[in-house]
Structures are given as C-alpha cells and as structure tokens.
Amino acid sequence: MTAVVSLRNVAKSYLRGRQQVEVLHGVDLDITAGEFLALMGPSGSGKTTMLNLIAGLDQPTGGEVQVAGQRIDRLSRAALSSWRAQHIGFVFQFYNLLPVLTAEANVEVPLLLTNLSGKERSKRVQTALQLVGLADRGKHKPNELSGGQQQRVAIARALVADPTLLVCDEPTGDLDRRSAEEIMNLLQALNRTQGKTIVMVTHDPKAAEYASRELHLDKGRLVDEVARKAA
C-alpha cells in the first residue's frame, strides 16, 4: 500500500520562556491511503503537535515529513498555505466556523481559493452539505445550529475541496455522546465509502474504536499500536 503520510525521525521542540521543551522525539510513522488512524495519548503527549506537522500547520525541528508525495518540512509559509488548500481538510474540536457566514458560505470558503466558477462552487457546496445530511440547513448561521450540526458543517467544509487527507483534532471533544456517535459514524462512512484517508486525534476511546488503526503517544514517542479489522 502507498504511504500518504510518512514521518521519519521527526522531532519537535518549543521554546517556552528560556526553556526548550521537547515535544516529539524521533517519531517514525507511515499512514497508507484509505486508512482511518486514531492518535491517542494523554495531554501533552504530542498528539496535536504531530497532527499539526502532518497538516502542514507547523514545521518540525528535525526529521522529514512527507505527505501526498511531497516533503513539506522544507516548504515556505506561502507554499505551505497553497499546499494545505490542495491537500488538507481540517476538522477542529470547536468547529471553528465563521459565525457571520451561513453554513453554505462557510463550506464555500476553501473553494474561494480555487478557480471554480460561482455556479460550480455552489454545486459542490450543496453536494458536501448533502453528504453530511444538512442540505436543508445551508442558509442557517452557526448559532442557529446544534453542536453536532456545526461539526457536520465543519466536516462538509473540510471535504468540499476533495483533499488528500482529512485531519481531525478531537472532533467529538465538544459534543454529547449521541452527537459524537453521529459524527464518528459520518467520518467512518466517509472513510469506507469515499475512501478518505483520515487522521484523528482523540482522548475518547469510544471515538477511537471507529478508526481502522489506533496509535498511542506518550511523552513524544509512539508507544502502542492497535489494528482493527474493517467492520
């Protein structure tokens, strides 16, 4: 299987005041196309840092990060922006929708960076909203939607530009159990029916059960791996 994501000896450290904090220590990881990977671990273990490196939001202090066949650890800020627009769909814990825009307009935002016509953008937005079951809520603003619905809109936004990789940071972290299950079912369906490669950071073991592989991080090192058969 082809590795969509390949991390080799990746290290990351931050400067906190005068102190150098080592967050990741020489991590090696391959994620293959069509995989649904759950990254677990206690707070401060480096999960989100690793996710940010894979999504091109941050740069490692050592090692190589290759995503979709490209070394992204050497790209400039400007090149990374355009790379993210093309390859990454991001789902946040707190949805992070733009509150002044309707659901449709929120989903359309990544498409503004493409050369698609207004008509084509609108068509794609409707398809994405249909995919997450919110075709009838397109005109609603985020504050008129429930938490689960807002996260569905965020997933539609992440999918609309058809990215190589879907990156989810605690996607159920702000949801009740029922809404969390709905979101996880949706992500699993996207992985299984659409073949979307998904990398998800979560604290929630129940959410991790939806993934096809589960990795545990502790103190910046991969310590455990659980592989599941597709249901």
Binding site: R77, F90, F92, N96, L98, P99, V100, L113, G118, R121
Partner: protein, 382 residues
C-alpha cells in the same frame, strides 16, 4: 469579487460598532466636503475675478463711506472707463429670514463696468425713468416669484426712511442675467431714491466701482486715485477686485488655515478611531483568521482581506459623506447665498484620496498583525 461576501460579513461582524464608526466617517467627510468645497469655491471665485475693475473705499473702513461727489474726480483720472458706486442696503423680504443683497447704485455705469451682467436696454431705460425702480437678477426674481410691474416692499434694520419707516417700497422694472456670476442674487436700487428718502447716510457710497481701459495699468491708476484724496477728510484705498475679495475673506479669518486645521484635526482623530475599530475587529477574529490560514489562505491574502475591509469601511462612508456635502451645496439654502455654487470636482478627488489614505494608514497595522499570525499559537489561544 468572490471574496466580497467574506469581507462584507467580516465588516458587519459587530453591527453597532461598525455603524457608529461609519457614521463618524460620514460626518467627517461631510465636514471635509463642505469646508474644502467652500474653500475651493472662494479660491476659484477670487482667481476668476476681473482685473479691469477697481474698488475705492474709505481708507479707514468700508462702512465709513465716501462722498458721492468723488465720482467725477475719479472719472477724470486717465485710463478710467466708467465709474459707479455701491451703498450696501441689505434688507429683507417679508421676514428677516429672507435676506436680500440690495445695493443703492447708479445703474447705467454699473452695467458698463460689469459687462458680464446682461440687461435689456428697455429695462435700463425704465430704471432711469423710475425713481423707485429696481433691477433684480433673474434668479432672485424667480426665487420670490416677482414679475415686472410688481411692487416690492423691502424691510431694513439699518436704513430707516425720513418718515421713520423701516420698510421701503420698490417697483420692479426689469431683470438681468447674472449667470456669469453663477446667478448671484442681486437687487439694484437707484441711488437718487435712496438719497432722497434715507434718514441718514445720503450722498455717500461704500464703494466706488471703477472700470479701467487697460488692466496692466491697474496699480498705477489705483495709486493715482488714492493720491487724489490723500490728506483729505476722506482718504481712499483703491484695490483690484481680486485683492478686495481676498481682503474681505481675510476679515473672516484665514479661511484656508481654519479649514485645513479643522479638517486635519477631524481626520487625525478619525484615523485613531478607524484604526482602533479595525484593531479590535482583527483582535476578536484572531481564531477565525487562523482558521482561514489553516484552510489555505496565504499571509498575503489575509493581509489583503483586512486591508480591503478597511478600504470598504472608509471609502463607502466617505462616499456617503461627500455625497451629502454635494447635496447640501446644491440645496436651495446655499444657492440663495452663493448662487450656482456646485461641489468642485477637485474636492471630490481630494476626498476620495483622503479616504484611501485613511483606510491604508488605519488598516495597515491590523492587517499586518493578521498577516503575521501564527496558526498554531492562534488556534491554541496563545
């Protein structure tokens, strides 16, 4: 264009704050338009004034007046083409709220000096034959619906009649075309009628108007006229039309300085207000801007979005303010005072330029801050 919705929505994120900021900019540019418009208008009027006309007034003060008998001596000065005179009558029609710019004068030479004013010969003849006659500009006649043959009562708070009345009666004998002066409203009465009826101030004039044959001799003739009356009871001061206009404007203060000082202070304050609004707006939207960057918006694109937002705020509000100023300029109230005095195009251009500068200066710091935003820190709330 495709980013318009995103920018517009960002602009109105806090409706009340944006509304009040916009209202401040509208008021500032209304003030800018009105003051700069008046300033430019005065400058244009002064620049376009004729140089073959001289104005002679009392050296001490225009209101002191000069004996009308000076007229013949001035006319005898070589190079002088015609001499007339003005006594400011003022007055109002029906109500003091309707001021009328009326002058007692010798009409025939007046129209020879002001060749831009067009009067029909029959009206001038009628004026000469009618002591109580009055010639008014077409615009003023139209404004009050006066027709030839109408008897017009004019109230005055200065010139009471010998009978103790503050109302003078005049007969409209003709109108004249004053379009060369933007239709400037004027009301000319016979000096003879004024002298006969005024309780005081008869046979004196506030200004002698002197038409000269060669504008190049204006300075020399001015000196000659003043020399004629040097060391007399009523010494004179002779000036060209533009010098007089400038002096009268100076009496109101240095309009240029005042206007520029007021507008400068207003815009300087506005700069801080707009910058503060934009700074707050960007600060509140830090996570949203980080999300845009996460989705692939480059640093430059985010900077541009914030700058365009500031531009939309300033330019949109400035356009409303300047539009209102234009509307005020074309309103009846100002036209009654200044005639056809439109908003000069240069003021619109200056206003547009100022709005652009305001937007760039106030928008650049928050835009730069948005550009420099680190995604990871911003999303983590650091």
């Amino acid at each position: 264009m495709k980013y318009f919705g995103l920018i517009w929505a960002g602009l109105w994120r806090k409706r009340t704050r944006t509304f009040f900021t916009m209202a401040s900019i509208v008021v500032a540019f209304l003030l800018f338009g009105l003051l700069q418009g008046l300033n430019q208008g005065f400058n244009t009027v002064v620049t376009n004034l004729n140089v073959d006309r001289l104005y002679v007034s009392a050296k001490t003060n225009m209101t002191d007046g000069l004996p009308i008998a000076y007229s013949a001596r001035i006319k005898a000065v070589p190079g002088v083409r015609a001499v007339s005179h003005w006594t400011y009558f003022g007055g109002y029609f029906r109500d003091a709220k309707n001021p009328i710019p009326a002058f007692a004068t010798d009409p025939e030479p007046l129209f020879q000096i002001y060749r831009e004013l067009k009067v029909k010969p029959e009206y001038m003849e009628a004026m000469k034959k009618t002591r109580t006659g009055v010639l008014v500009s077409e615009q003023l006649a139209k404004q009050y619906g006066w027709k030839i043959g109408d008897r017009i009562p004019l109230g005055t708070s200065i010139w009471t009649t010998k009978q103790g009345s503050s109302t003078w009666m005049f007969d409209l004998v003709g109108t004249f075309d004053a379009s060369a002066f933007g239709g400037f409203p004027s009301f000319y009465i016979n000096q003879a009628y004024f002298d006969e009826n005024a309780a005081f101030g008869a046979h004196t004039a506030h200004y002698f108007l002197v038409g000269i044959k060669d504008p190049h001799q204006a300075t020399q003739i001015s000196k000659q006229i003043d020399a004629l009356f040097a060391n007399s009871t009523y010494e004179t001061r002779t000036q060209t039309e533009s010098a007089l206009a400038q002096m009268q404007l100076k009496q109101l203060g240095d309009i240029n300085f005042i206007v520029n000082a007021i507008v400068g202070a207003v815009l300087f304050t506005l700069l801080f207000l707009t910058a503060n609004t934009m700074m707050q707006s960007v600060s509140e939207r830090t996570p949203e801007l980080a999300v845009l960057k996460t989705l692939g918006f480059s640093d430059g694109k985010v900077l541009t979005l914030v700058l365009i937002e500031a531009l939309m705020l300033c330019v949109f509000a400035a356009a409303i303010g300047l539009g209102l100023a234009t509307f005020v300029f074309e309103s009846g109230a100002l036209r009654r005072i200044f005639g056809n005095f439109g908003m000069p195009l240069i003021v619109m251009a200056m206003g547009g330029g100022t709005a652009l500068v305001l937007a760039l200066v106030s928008g650049l710091p928050p835009a730069w801050r948005a550009r420099q935003l680190n995604i990871v820190d911003a999303l983590a709330g650091r």
